[in-house]
């Protein structure tokens, strides 16, 4: 049962944090929460389809289908995050520091429909990959009711812990000022985009499309991926203690648009205030 708890917690942790951050964003921008229902439905449906067609996907493209699908899902989530970052970036500079919630009528959040669409997409596709693995894992115990029961109870505890951590994080963030939260959200989007793009590189390395090289550095003696902190960072921001040069290039390719968006909005803000 402990194995099931750890496996499912690892799978749901990243999705729980993404859902939490986007729900707090929704609250801060006075956007109704009903989009999360569509996002969860999209996640459950797409993950179930991925699990149902797991054999066909694995065999596709000469046995590389799983990696291509994963890379496509990571890429789509990165694009959603870049659009979300481009919409919230002006708010980092325009929002008064004492305001806790912004009204939906605020001129700056006019493209909120695009924001909701991207939030649905990001949550749905993040869940697709992670939950598909849970369906496959639990499906492996269908032949043995005792093992199935143990896996289901372990899974429920794992989901419960992940959800609890999400709820705690929500209440820690919802009471800070809108401006402070949006800054945290932007940093979170940068870290997550970087981590996800390293995962894309890893998929391509795994199928031999890219060639591995000697790792650029090795921080496993400081934070090992086997440690609880390493596991946490791996689940949340795709921490890798010994990345390849190509992974670092992918990291910066994903992070650069976000940094440019930030610089551009800072420049515009300075120009209008002169």
């Amino acid at each position: 049962m402990v194995d099931a708890i750890l496996l499912i917690l690892r799978e749901v942790l990243e999705a729980a944090l993404i859902i939490t951050m986007l729900l707090v964003m929704s609250r801060k921008l006075s956007i109704a929460f009903n989009w999360i229902v569509i996002a969860l439905a999209l996640g459950m449906l797409s993950s179930w389809l991925l699990a149902c067609y797991a054999y066909a996907i694995a065999d596709a493209f000469d046995g590389t289908g799983q990696e291509w699908i994963n890379a496509l899902l990571y890429f789509s989530v990165i694009l959603s995050f870049i659009v979300i970052a481009s919409i919230i970036a002006p708010l980092l500079f325009n929002t008064p520091s004492h305001v806790q919630y912004l009204p939906l009528t605020n001129e700056s959040i006019k493209p909120y429909r695009k924001l909701i669409f991207c939030a649905v997409f990001a949550v749905g596709l993040s869940l697709a990959r992670e939950v598909a693995e849970i369906w496959i894992y639990v499906g492996g115990f269908l032949h043995d009711p005792n093992l199935l029961q143990s896996a289901l109870i372990g899974g429920a505890i794992g989901v419960g812990i992940g959800t609890s951590l999400g709820v705690i994080t929500y209440y820690l963030l919802v009471f800070i000022s809108a401006r402070a939260f949006l800054n945290i959200l932007f940093v979170f989007l940068v870290l997550l985009c970087g981590g996800l793009s390293m995962q894309i590189a890893r998929q391509l390395l795994q199928i031999g499309i890219l060639d591995s090289a000697t790792p650029l550095w090795d921080t496993s003696s400081i934070i090992n991926e086997h440690s609880w902190l390493g596991e946490l960072l791996y689940a949340l921001i795709g921490y890798d203690s010994s990345p390849n040069a190509i992974q670092v290039i992918f990291y910066w390719v994903a992070v650069m648009p976000l940094l440019l968006i930030l610089l551009w909005n800072g420049y515009r803000r300075n120009r209008t205030s002169i």
Partner: protein, 109 residues
Amino acid sequence: MIFRKFILILLCMSPAISAATVPEFTIEIHDHLFFPSTLVVPADTKVKLIIINKDPTPEEFESYELNREKVIMGGARAVIFIGPLKSGDYPFFGEFNPKTAQGVIRAQH
């Protein structure tokens, strides 16, 4: 200099070129155990691992040291490229059965 690096990356992205001389090794999964549990591969060489899951249940091949992770459905096979690796031991495990499914890739000259 940048152009040369760009060409090098493009060349690295050609699977037809890079897969032509890659040595292949097979690992099988029986009863949630890896066979062989210690696989010796040449150091400083890109290697193609073929993992055959002979169990009816799925397994996930995972290794932090190798930076690899792949679900292998019951009765299916999967291909994973690893390396070039420096000489040393690189543990891997089955995430769905971590207590029993343990193994090591040993890279040596």
